[in-house]
């Protein structure tokens, strides 16, 4: 399984008193009246929050980092509510920037939403951008993260959510390439060929074809037959 389609989802909801859940998505409990015993945590305005280690909602224990044999292609992100935006950070560089070169809040949720299923039809936003094209590469050994920024404070003071619509969320989908396929991905990058599943498969086919030709001794036979005779191209 060297080419795997992965996804990571973040929500600003935690149970108990802690504002972060380092073990991933928390168990949500309900009281006798069906009220969830959890809190949608406050997200301050205009402050980027790392959705993996930002200290709010479900988090990881360590930042996202590629191992030496891993290569990541990010092709889809999404967020909610619509006053939010996502930026991709690789090492210390943010991907989305304004025309003057200054990093921005990133891709607005209105353009690439990840809305809850409970949202009403007339409030749904159809994605203006289906996928990131070109995709974003995270090379072996690089650290990366997704930063969530909202233009207005969300869930001020921390609120008990009443519907899914009150929970902030973010989503990133990526292709995880590891093992021998990662070497192929790096070769494609060197040759300025887009790293996609199709191109990796194509490159593997070329490798197999070349190997078959070598096995058949075609090159050797050709050399022997042609010798130093002038070659004619047709």
């Amino acid at each position: 399984m060297s080419l795997r389609r992965q996804a990571y989802e973040w929500r600003n909801i935690t149970s108990g008193t802690s504002i972060v859940s380092n073990i991933g998505h928390p168990i949500l409990t309900y009281d006798a009246l069906g009220q969830v015993q959890a809190t949608a945590r406050q997200i301050p305005a205009n402050i980027p929050i790392d959705i993996m280690v930002g200290g709010i909602g479900n988090n990881l224990e360590m930042p996202a980092a590629n191992r030496a044999h891993q290569f990541i292609v990010i092709d889809n992100i999404g967020s909610y509510p619509y006053q939010a935006a996502l930026n991709i950070r690789i090492e210390t560089t943010k991907y989305f920037q304004s025309p003057d070169g200054v990093p921005t809040e990133g891709m607005p949720a209105s353009a690439m939403p990840f809305a809850p299923s409970t949202i009403l039809g007339n409030q749904e936003v159809v994605p203006m951008i289906e996928v990131l094209d070109p995709t974003v590469y995270v090379l072996p050994g690089q650290t990366w993260g997704i930063e969530y920024t909202t233009y207005a404070t969300l869930n001020a003071g921390g609120q008990t959510p009443t519907t899914d619509n009150t929970i902030a969320r973010a989503y990133v989908r990526y292709l995880l390439i590891d093992g021998p396929d990662q070497l192929i991905a790096m070769r494609l990058v060197e040759q300025s060929i887009p790293v996609t599943t199709e191109n990796i498969e194509w490159y593997k086919q070329q490798l197999i074809r070349n190997r078959l030709r070598a096995d058949l001794g075609m090159e050797e036979t050709l050399e022997k037959t042609l010798g130093d005779k002038p070659r004619r191209f047709i």
Binding site: L28, T29, Q35, A65, P113, V126, T163, D164
Partner: protein, 404 residues
């Protein structure tokens, strides 16, 4: 049918209308379970296994969307019987039958003012969070929205074991264990019916009129039980795919994760839903002799909720009708078997994606090559024979053939 598209739908339903909630009948929150063999919902008899002449390509999957479930639990009942007056936050009912279930609900009155119910005293007295303004001096109509599940009264019968009756006491043996629910019901012994007034112990009942009966199994108790039917639930679930012992999904810190949520890959999706954000591209190949599994994790604590309900109002038990769908998961995949599975291997070795089109293409190539072999041979044979005939004729015509 060497190439077939297959699907498997897993549905976790309530255990049944009259079956008191049993935590063992449902998955524990945060524990992943197999949708195929772990004993919850519809299952198959053995774990999925790809035999030596098969090849499986998992194309896509989805599960029940949603995070919170209280939107389907709170305030699904309406109560409007009687009228009310109010002084400050105290609300007094006239001809009402308020219940403890209304605590946490909302009451609308006094020209559309909405207040939260923060305390329940009795059938005619509740407290709201903010006083109606002004106080309701003249009895006014109202509407209370409340509830968790549907409170329903259901008829039941009981006739286990044996009973003996002497005076107004009925004694049960050999499994005739009585419950408090039976008080208010009737018992019929050998065709004579009496009303049940009390249950002093689990094995005795007090009836209204004396009845003498020797030990008999010929009896039936008719009574009713008021229960809460959980009519909907959102699981807040995630799906992980496991091939042999390896989890397909891992989080960015390279550890096992619960997988893809129902919001990212919803099933079923309605017309109003935007297509799910997750797509299983590239597909997952399950090779011969491999086992595979879909593991589902529910993050909403169903057992905890039912336990809280029981502690809050012990007289009401919770049941989950089998019409209530607690969670669903659907997977569809391609099954290649027989010669087509061999082609899958060939494609895999050549680094060509395995899908129906490519397998069909490869088959065409094989057929074409085979056809070419015969046709070419026949063609060259005919050409050679024609050439030889022509040469022979020419030599004869030009007199170059010497007669021996």
């Amino acid at each position: 049918m060497a190439i077939t598209i297959q699907n498997y739908e897993w549905t976790l339903r309530g255990a049944g209308d009259f079956i008191t909630y049993n935590p063992a009948s449902y998955p524990t929150a945060s524990n992943d379970i197999s949708i195929f063999v772990d004993g919850f919902g519809n299952n198959i008899e053995i774990p999925p296994f790809v035999s030596e002449d098969q090849f499986v390509v998992i194309e896509n999957f989805g599960s029940t969307p949603g995070v919170l479930c209280q939107t389907n639990l709170i305030n699904n009942l309406t109560y409007t019987t009687g009228t009310i007056t109010s002084v400050g936050t105290a609300v007094t009912g006239i001809g009402t039958a308020f219940t403890a279930d209304m605590l946490g609900g909302t009451i609308t009155s006094n020209g559309g003012q909405v207040r939260n119910i923060v305390a329940f005293t009795n059938a005619t007295s509740i407290t709201v969070d903010v006083a109606f303004a002004p106080d309701i001096g003249v009895a006014d109509t109202f509407s209370i929205s409340y509830g968790v599940g549907l409170t329903t009264t259901k008829p039941r019968t009981f006739s286990d074991g044996l009973v003996t009756s002497a005076a107004t006491t009925v004694t049960g043996t050999l499994g005739a264990t009585f419950t408090l629910d039976m008080v208010g019901g009737t018992i019929t012994i050998n065709g004579t019916t009496r009303n049940i007034l009390a249950r002093p112990t689990p094995n005795t009942l007090t009836i209204d009129v004396a009845l003498t009966a020797a030990t008999t199994a010929n009896y039936i108790i008719n009574y009713s039980v008021t229960e809460i039917d959980l009519t909907s639930w959102i699981p807040n679930g995630f799906v992980q795919i496991v091939v042999n012992t390896t989890g397909y999904y891992q989080d960015p810190q390279n550890t096992w994760q619960k997988g893809i949520s129902g919001d990212a890959a919803p099933y079923p999706a309605t017309l109003n839903d935007i297509p799910g954000s997750y797509e299983l591209k590239p597909n997952i190949y399950i090779l011969p002799e491999q086992t595979w599994d879909f593991r589902y994790t529910m993050m909403n604590d169903l057992s905890g909720y039912v336990a809280n309900r029981a502690a809050y109002n012990p007289s009401l038990s919770t049941t989950i009708p089998n019409t209530t769908i607690l969670a669903q998961c659907q997977v569809y995949y391609y099954l290649f078997d027989g010669p087509d599975s061999l082609i899958c291997h060939q494609l895999l070795e050549l680094g060509i994606p395995i899908n129906v089109d490519n397998v069909e293409w490869y088959k065409k190539m094989l057929l074409k090559e085979r056809g070419l072999d015969t046709d070419t041979w026949e063609h060259y044979l005919q050409v050679s024979m024609a050439y030889r005939e022509r040469e022979a004729k020419q030599e004869e015509l030009y007199g170059r053939t010497r007669k021996g």
